[in-house]
């Protein structure tokens, strides 16, 4: 909190060397941090549980505040870091606010693209994984394909995808699907292969048919491994998402990034990078929440 106060104070007091800056928005961001930290401090003083969760992060926030201060100091205040490549936080926040509509629309575009590719990648990945674990014939033909295609980075397929699919939305979601499909299929297969046979045998003596064995034994048993595949695929898919938007699309964060670069508006470039960071972090959070819900049974079983 102190560090943020310092950053805020410096932003308020020190004169700006770089011209034409409206520091208000940046100050609001810093103010929001201060309010957030103060509220948490007050709650922390009241409840020991919250304190245990929140106070260990104090140093981290302190460093973050200092970072803001230093950044602001070296760019906007003293202009040691030159424009246009190193805009200060003030300017970035200002640009983000000015362009917030485009940024929101771009985020929505990127999210839609991701949601499409993500869901079809997961569905295809898990069903392929089940098919090749269950039927020797599918395994024989498909597994080598997965091994080979799985190695090829999805971005390498951009030219082909652009030739095949009519819209950039389809190109993008196809590429993201490719990112997720193969790691998930691979990990589903190895997850199923590692399930203790006794679970399948027990289920059969309990009267299970084939579909019960697949959906109630194989899939839940392989779920930890499936999630490993998902997190591998997700990391790849973020990169692919941005690249595919940069080359083909007329919307989305990647497109915005490229467009801002085209105009050499680096503060906009930074702004879109920050938005991306926040968006991807939120997606990972969401996936993590689903994972800990579905794998609640593992808690305390593995570390």
């Amino acid at each position: 909190m102190l560090a943020f106060a310092l950053a805020l104070a410096s932003s308020l007091i020190l004169p700006n060397k770089q011209a034409k800056l409206i520091p208000l928005y940046y100050q609001i961001v810093l103010g929001a941090f201060i309010v957030f930290l103060s509220v948490n401090c007050v709650i922390g003083l009241r409840s020991a549980k919250h304190a245990a969760k929140f106070f260990p992060k104090g140093q981290l926030f302190f460093a973050l505040g200092l970072l803001f201060f230093a950044w602001d100091f070296f760019s906007a205040k003293t202009a040691i870091m030159p424009l246009p490549f190193y805009p200060g936080p003030t300017q970035i926040v200002q640009e983000a606010v000015a362009d917030y509509k485009i940024l929101l629309i771009s985020s929505a575009h990127s999210l839609r693209l991701f949601a499409l590719g993500f869901s079809s990648g997961i569905i295809l990945g898990i069903s392929t994984g089940i098919l090749i674990s269950w039927y020797e014939r599918w395994n024989y033909w498909l597994f080598p394909v997965i091994r080979v295609i799985g190695i090829i980075p999805a971005v390498a397929l951009i030219p082909i995808a652009m030739g095949i699919f009519p819209s950039s939305l389809m190109v993008g979601s196809f590429l993201i699907t490719m990112c997720l499909w193969f790691p998930i299929a691979y990990m589903t297969r190895s997850g199923i292969a590692n399930i203790n046979k006794a679970y399948f045998e027990t289920a059969r003596t309990l009267g299970a048919n084939e579909s019960w064995l697949i959906w109630r034994v194989a899939v839940p048993g392989a779920l930890p491994s499936i999630f490993t595949g998902v997190s591998t695929g997700i990391a790849l898919s973020f990169a692919t998402l941005v690249v595919s938007e940069m080359v083909g699309a007329r919307a989305g964060l990647g497109w915005y990034l490229n467009w801002a670069k085209g105009w050499s508006v680096y503060s906009k470039v930074y702004a879109s990078i920050f938005v991306m960071g926040i968006e991807f972090a939120l997606i990972l959070r969401g996936v993590g929440a689903i994972q800990s819900k579905l794998l609640a049974w593992q808690k305390g079983l593995v570390k």
Binding site: A198, T202, T205, L206, G207, R216, L301
Partner: protein, 259 residues
């Protein structure tokens, strides 16, 4: 009606890690009458689990036949409940979900949902319905897997050392529960154990097996009236005769002096 189990000249050969054949069961013939309680006893590796798996339909013999009321067994069925030697509750299901999994697998959960609490109670697991298998004790897990098999009302119950990991108090209590269930429902029982006392206390007949290759060496009829007393003179006599057959007594040197 409870079925009768017949094994005729059954052999099962495994190949070990080096590919050399290993005879787990050699020419085993055994019949279990309708509703009879038969225990199988014998040293480790004599093929008890192998025999049970054949009756369950999880494994097929290379020679001979395993049949149920004259019909050859081709695969597993919920009518032959099987409690594994090593407890294997589904780790991703809670105790309650594990116990009801048989009903769900057969697609009759909706109509029989109300029976589940009775089986949880039977296993003494009230209050642990929502726990996951790794959160309960070994004994509780064993009781849960027994309840999981029982909820299907199997006509044949195959129990592979179901009380192996339990302390003697719990063991005695569960033996009584098993007997009570058997007397009420009258399933045909095949019960594997290492414990001679347990076999005598529970069974109509005791099958003694010997290893290398796994064979039935003798079948002892237990002609004690039920309910049985664990400290009866007849009980002790039968116990020492079975111990002798298992070569657990008699071979040892006699004490040189008596107190």
């Amino acid at each position: 009606m409870n079925p009768r189990i017949d094994l005729k000249n059954v052999s099962r050969v495994y190949s070990d890690a080096n590919g050399t054949p290993f005879t787990a069961l050699h020419d085993v013939s055994l019949s279990v009458e309708k509703g009879e309680f038969v225990s199988i006893i014998g040293p480790s590796g004599c093929g008890k689990t192998t025999l049970l798996r054949l009756v369950a339909g999880l494994d097929l013999p290379q020679a001979g036949t395993v049949s149920l009321d004259g019909e050859q067994i081709k695969g597993p069925s919920y009518e032959r409940g099987y409690v594994f030697q090593h407890v294997n509750l589904f780790p991703w299901l809670t105790v309650q979900e594990n116990i009801s999994s048989g009903l769900k697998a057969r697609g009759i959960f909706k109509s029989r949902k109300d029976d589940v609490p009775a089986f949880i109670k039977l296993a003494g697991l009230e209050g642990f319905e929502k726990s996951y298998p790794h959160q309960i004790s070994g004994g509780m897990a064993q009781r849960a897997s027994l309840a999981r098999a029982l909820i299907n009302d199997p006509k044949v119950l195959l129990l592979d050392e179901p009380l192996g990991a339990l302390d003697s108090f719990t063991r005695f209590a569960l033996q009584d529960i098993i007997l009570e269930l058997w007397e009420q429902r009258g399933a045909t029982m095949l019960f594997v154990t290492h414990d001679v006392d347990e076999a005598i206390y529970l069974s109509d007949r005791i099958v003694i097996m010997t290893p290398r290759p796994g064979e039935v060496s003798e079948i002892v009829e237990v002609k004690l009236a039920r309910p049985r007393l664990r400290n009866d003179a007849m009980f002790f006599a039968l116990r020492s005769s079975i111990m002798e057959k298992l070569h657990l007594v008699g071979s040892r040197r006699q004490p040189e002096y008596f107190l």
